[in-house]
């Protein structure tokens, strides 16, 4: 019997396998950041250990950093200490780092692919659950806790039980205006937050193959939101074209050797998955969440559900609690939900393609007077590229705030937070209670929905916006 893609990649990394024990897997790339690494470095120091492979390790500052005044010392002393601790640790242990102010700084899952370090067939880990993003390249990539960060620093390996395999096959074509984000939100609402638990998922089928690398990263990014160990997509020409020429991509004969191997990284025809799900992309529409986990979603054209309609008692109670927290009435059309803040950014939707899409919709329009639009590029490179293309001017002229790179309001760890009761439409990945600030209410949305919502002030898609009378009035490039 043949092997699935994830089985191939897994098997290529088994250092040691023994009956009754998890496999010992070699890790090709370990990404670290300021929040989940300090205790791991402490552990090394206490045991007198070193970093086994600094050359397979990369650090950046993203979770806790400000997106304004990034050229000044961080105002919050506790945040500053955490960031300075990473700087001391990377220096002491000889780890390459891209700190705040560096041109390669940014969200850890944006900069790996951007540098060309994320490549097919690799094992990639980071003390962050959205490490699944890198699976878009055909890598096995997953989030780990701090004890495991220490384990990888010390040994460049991880003990892992072999997960089951699942295929999510998406047939048909996504309709115009429907994005990878809508696709993955639709999927999670079908499966629930625990539906992928114990599985490595391979996303496949025509709708997946048609996605850009950015779109594929959005889908894989949210694998963790339905509980999957990891999510990956077989590498193809789209993947190779994205990687070629990037700073850390293989060159010359190495490139040829790499591509030859990467082409073998597909699920064999006679391989079997432990579970399969099939979705039809052609029936999908813009999708938003109404509740307090990513599985509580509905079509933008739908209404806030009535908890009484949930057959499962647990889901019913969950829905009641969610509506209470979200201050929503069952039956309210989603399009009537008024939004205070729109956040465009994060490792889910903070790449250049996302900013271009948002700018295209915002261009020539203005942000609703009662709504705030925060645009946070995923990395310094994304910010610079956007500024080269004049996207920043489009955003600023519309009344949006144009910020520096980082995780920002996705998790509300830096000062970019919602206030109690404030409602957001957010291109990020989690609508948990308080995720974006204590008492904040989050609706997860795609980039086009975020941009249209900023203009109308209620949850909207670009189709809801009046046609512009004249286009090109503000080109932004003067």
């Amino acid at each position: 019997m043949g092997k699935t893609l994830s089985e191939k990649v897994w098997d290529e990394h088994v250092v040691r396998s023994a009956e009754g024990e998890p496999d010992l897997l070699f890790i090709d790339l370990h990404l670290i950041h300021e929040v989940t690494s300090p205790q791991a470095f402490d552990g090394l120091r206490l045991a007198g250990r070193s970093v086994r492979r600094p050359d397979l390790t990369l650090a950046t500052e993203d979770h806790n950093v400000p997106t304004v005044d990034w050229d000044k010392p961080i105002a919050d002393p506790v945040s500053r200490t955490q960031v300075e601790t990473l700087r001391k640790n990377t220096e002491e242990f000889g780890v390459r780092s891209h700190p705040l102010g560096d041109v390669e700084q940014g969200i850890v899952h944006i900069i790996g692919p951007q540098l060309g370090l994320t490549q097919p067939g690799m094992t990639i880990v980071c003390g962050d659950s959205h490490t699944s993003t890198h699976g878009a390249f055909g890598a096995i990539a997953f989030g780990i806790g701090t004890s495991e960060v220490e384990h990888v620093l010390a040994t460049q390996t991880l003990m892992q039980a072999r997960p089951k395999t699942m295929a999510v096959t998406v047939t048909g074509d996504l309709p115009d205006g429907v994005t990878a984000k809508d696709l993955v939100l639709t999927l999670i609402t079908q499966t629930g937050t625990g539906g992928g638990q114990g599985y490595i998922v391979e996303y496949r089928g025509p709708a997946i193959e048609a996605l850009s690398m950015e779109g594929r990263m959005t889908v894989c990014n949210m694998s963790i939101e339905w509980g999957a160990k990891a999510g990956l997509i077989a590498p193809d020409k789209t993947t190779f074209d994205y990687i070629e020429g990037r700073p850390e991509a293989p060159k010359g004969a190495d490139w040829d050797a790499a591509v030859e191997h990467w082409k073998s990284l597909v699920t064999d025809d006679d391989a079997r998955f432990d579970k399969e799900i099939v979705l039809d992309a052609s029936t999908m529409t813009p999708f938003v969440t109404w509740g307090t986990n990513p599985g509580q979603g509905v079509q933008l054209g739908g209404t806030v559900p009535d908890p009484a309609q949930f057959e499962d008692a647990d889901e019913r109670v969950g829905a009641e609690k969610a509506l209470e927290y979200m201050a929503l009435e069952a039956g309210t059309p989603m399009r009537e939900v008024k939004v205070d803040t729109v956040f465009v950014g994060s490792c889910t939707n903070g790449r250049i393609e996302d900013l271009r899409l948002a700018a295209e919709i915002i261009k020539g329009r203005t942000v609703d007077k009662d709504t705030r639009l925060l645009v946070v590029p995923g990395s310094v490179r994304v910010r610079m590229q956007a500024e080269d293309e004049g996207l920043d001017i489009i955003f600023k002229e519309a009344g949006a705030e144009w910020r520096g790179a980082g995780c920002s309001m996705c998790l509300g760890m830096n000062p970019d937070q919602l206030t109690p009761g404030e409602r957001s439409a957010s291109t990020s990945n989690r609508n948990f209670e308080g995720r974006q600030g204590k008492g904040g209410r989050t609706h997860l949305v795609s980039v086009p929905v975020a941009a249209a919502t900023a203009v109308r002030g209620t949850l909207s898609s670009p189709a809801d916006l009046p046609e512009l009378v004249s286009t090109g009035a503000t080109d932004g490039r003067a």
Binding site: V15, R16, G20, E21, L24, F26, D28, L29, V35, T36, P38, Q39, G43, A47, R52, P54, D55, L56, T57, H63, N64, V78, S79, T81, Q119, M122, D128, F142, G143, G145, T146, S147, E148, E150, H151, A154, T155, Q156, M159, G194, Q197, G198, I224, G227, K229, E248, P250, W255, A258, N293, V317, G318, K321, M413, R430, F432, E433, G434, K438, G439
Partner: protein
């Protein structure tokens, strides 16, 4: 890591499903660079509510948390495990744990005991009827126990063999892996030269 064989302590009924790690400890509490002191952020959003279970004096000294399904979903923050441990919890019982949380628990010495949903329901009822009642989590026999007499609750729980062994022995993972250093070295020699490196 401290050895764990069996623990008996006050059970805390947390009648909620989908308790994600942002709820266990919000991001603003993750700024410490130590492994201690995170109890101040434990369930921070709910601690202001007098009716929240940990705010009731009978449960305040709890050390066995009994929660609904999909406990620990979301962020990989091990701080969620530390916050529970820093508060005084030694074990969490749930019908289903998120993968990363369960892994982090095993590494840090918190027992994540997976039981049937009906067992959680019975434990909740018991702990609410008798506030301050204890629950025993026996890792040797993989059983959870509460109550006495004909209504006593006793059922098995799931935890993978390897994690159970490590917890019983109090073993350090890194130490175990470094005993296989020759295997790691041998593997490293077989890696293709075109694989990327961060330092040239």
């Amino acid at each position: 890591m401290e050895k764990f064989s069996t623990h008996t302590g006050v059970g805390v009924p947390l009648r909620r499903s989908n308790v994600d790690t942002d709820q266990i400890i919000p991001a603003v509490y993750l700024k410490r660079v130590t492994r201690t002191g995170f109890e101040d952020g434990l369930f921070a959003a709910w601690r202001g509510d007098p009716s929240f279970v940990l705010n009731k004096p009978e449960y305040a000294a709890g050390s066995v948390l009994v929660a609904g399904p999909d406990f620990g979903t979301g962020s990989s923050r091990e701080h969620a495990v530390w916050a529970l441990q820093n508060y005084g919890f030694r074990a969490v019982i749930s019908p289903r744990f998120a993968d990363i949380f369960r892994g982090n628990s095993g590494k840090s010495g918190l027992v994540a005991a997976q039981v049937d949903e009906k067992v959680v329901q019975r434990l909740w009822d018991h702990l609410e009827e008798f506030p301050g009642a204890t629950v025993t989590v026996d890792l040797e026999t993989r059983t959870v126990k509460a109550g006495e007499g004909p209504d006593a609750i006793e059922d098995s729980f799931d935890i993978d063999d390897y994690t159970r062994w490590r917890l019983l022995e109090g073993l350090d993972d890194v130490g175990i892996t470094l005993s296989h250093e020759e295997d790691i070295e041998a593997f490293e020699k077989t890696r293709p030269t075109w694989k990327p490196v961060t330092i040239h």
